[in-house]
């Protein structure tokens, strides 16, 4: 553990889980969308639904969607900045039972027409996990360089993608693969020690059966 996790993080108050974590989930959502969000439907659950106003969870989520980090002083004014930038926010509370008390779902449409929906949870101390992307169960913490592929499950996809990374001397730290069924939609999440360069990302994107590739830098 770094001593800067004890004297830190630097953040906008009042709560590391309900404010800083929420801002980081918003920022991850924006990075996954890969577009300037134009519309966002935010659904808060559990403790987020109960206390979002007093903790500024709503402001923090919107700040993240605008690309602000958890220590950005503009977080306080995120709703007016969103209005200026033409980001339309709809926030709703849900009393649906969820696995984790600090849960939020964000469905977004971007200015270039990109669409994405994520489910995020705030784990405490500003740490977060994205547990769903477009209905797929995933697990992302935003702490490492990450490459995500959305593809059809078939033999050789993982080998082809990792071979491209191996040739480029990209070291893989962790890797997870999920699929909805045999030969059905699948997701591969690869965390790496360094960013995967754009040309390599496009080579991976050209592998048949891979529909799209998303790369995320650490938050």
């Amino acid at each position: 553990m770094s001593v800067f996790d004890i004297v830190g993080p630097v953040m906008i108050g009042p709560s590391s889980s309900h404010t800083a974590g929420a801002a980081r989930i918003g920022l991850m959502a924006r990075n996954i969308l890969k577009d300037e969000p134009e519309k966002a439907l935010i659904t808060v659950y559990g403790s987020f639904a109960k206390t979002y106003k007093g903790h500024g969870t709503d402001k923090a989520l919107v700040a993240g969607l605008l690309g602000f980090s958890a220590d950005d002083t503009r977080l306080r004014d995120s709703f007016s900045i969103a209005a200026e930038k033409g980001l339309e926010i709809t926030l709703q509370r849900s009393d649906e039972e969820v696995d984790h008390p600090n849960t939020v779902r964000i469905a977004m449409t971007g200015k270039n027409g990109n669409q994405a929906e994520i489910l995020g949870v705030s784990l405490g101390g500003g740490k977060i996990e994205i547990r769903e992307i477009n209905g797929f169960e995933v697990s992302l913490n935003g702490e490492e360089h990450t490459l995500i592929t959305l593809h059809r499950d078939q033999p050789g996809i993982i080998a082809q993608a990792t071979t491209i990374m191996a040739i480029g001397h990209i070291n893989v730290s962790t890797m997870k693969v999920f699929r909805s069924g045999k030969h059905a939609n699948a997701v591969m999440i690869v965390c790496t020690d360094s960013p995967v360069p754009a040309e390599m990302v496009s080579l991976i994107g050209n592998i048949s059966a891979i529909e799209s590739v998303i790369t995320l830098a650490p938050l």
Binding site: V7, G8, G13, P14, G125
Partner: protein
């Protein structure tokens, strides 16, 4: 295996003796070896935290408004404009700065979680008050903060610094213990006195419940930060006089961990007990819920 690794406060002292350096230096060197950063970079990072301490104190003193809930805000200003009849100037400043930073946190200003946002007022307040009153240098302040951080890291490893795990003793209790250690160091105490200050302080927050009204980091958090900042100064004063904790520092941390495990969930940040469940606490929660539905 790292050369400067420490898992307990005893190991931290042992490393310092072994290398003939202060514990602050052990903390710095261990951070350097684990993060693979230079000494300059590591010291600079901690110095930037001190700058945010200053910003959040100023924000809390200059903004006299209330938080969104209306429950807190403006009290640091009240203290600043009172004549101050009981406390000496150092303890008075510590109390005022802790109120300021905690109010700033509740009002969505920038703070350093230290170790958490709910306990973010104590370390900045004590460190700044002591530094101003004793005229310590920026370098001494950075080193005192490394000592506090190293102690906090040991607590996080062997107990917890999360209210949901250990109650408020884990959050504000740890912050106060870290602050006491920093104060003792800034006042010229030996490493032994620094660790004694930590133990003397932590013993007096054991069992502290996390029972926030309406689940917000406001009541009792803000004023608790202020009172515990004063307690930290008191603990450091005893340690500097050579007073020792009968129970050694690491055993106090173990006791805190055990009490955290024994504590009912209702007193661990769930707002199902204590102050949150008083008549007034429940009425506040109902009012805020109603306001949120109407907005």
């Amino acid at each position: 295996m790292y050369e400067y690794e420490y898992k307990t406060l005893e190991e931290l002292s042992h490393r310092a003796v072994q290398h003939d350096i202060r514990i602050a230096e052990v903390v710095i060197r261990h951070e350097m070896e684990t993060s693979e950063q230079t000494e300059t970079a590591v010291r600079q990072c901690m110095a930037s935290r001190l700058e945010v301490f200053r910003e959040s104190i100023e924000a809390g003193l200059s903004d006299t408004g209330t938080s969104v809930s209306g429950l807190v805000g403006g009290d640091a200003d009240k203290l600043a404009h009172s004549s101050g009849r009981l406390l000496g100037s150092l303890a008075r400043k510590a109390e005022m700065y802790a109120l300021a930073v905690s109010e700033a946190n509740a009002k969505m200003f920038k703070i350093v979680a230290c170790p958490t946002a709910g306990s973010c007022g104590i370390v900045p307040a004590v460190l700044t008050a002591v530094s101003e009153e004793l005229g310590t240098s920026p370098q001494e302040n950075v080193e005192a903060l490394f000592t506090a951080a190293g102690i906090g890291a040991v607590v996080a490893r062997n107990a917890s610094v999360a209210g949901a795990v250990g109650g408020c003793q884990a959050e504000c209790g740890t912050a106060a213990a870290m602050a006491a250690a920093a104060a003792a160091q800034l006042a010229g105490g030996s490493d032994d006195a620094v660790l004694q200050a930590m133990a003397l302080c932590m013993k007096n927050t054991l069992g502290l419940a996390c029972d926030p009204v309406a689940g917000l980091v406001e009541v009792p958090c803000v004023k608790r930060n202020a009172c515990l900042a004063v307690m930290a100064v008191g603990a450091a004063e005893m340690a500097l006089a050579g007073i020792r904790s009968v129970i050694p520092p690491d055993e106090v941390i173990s006791a805190m961990a055990e009490i955290g495990r024994m504590m009912p969930v209702a007193l661990k940040e769930t707002s199902d007990g204590g102050l949150a469940r008083t008549g007034t606490g429940k009425a506040v929660a109902r009012r805020l819920e109603k306001e949120m539905k109407e907005s």
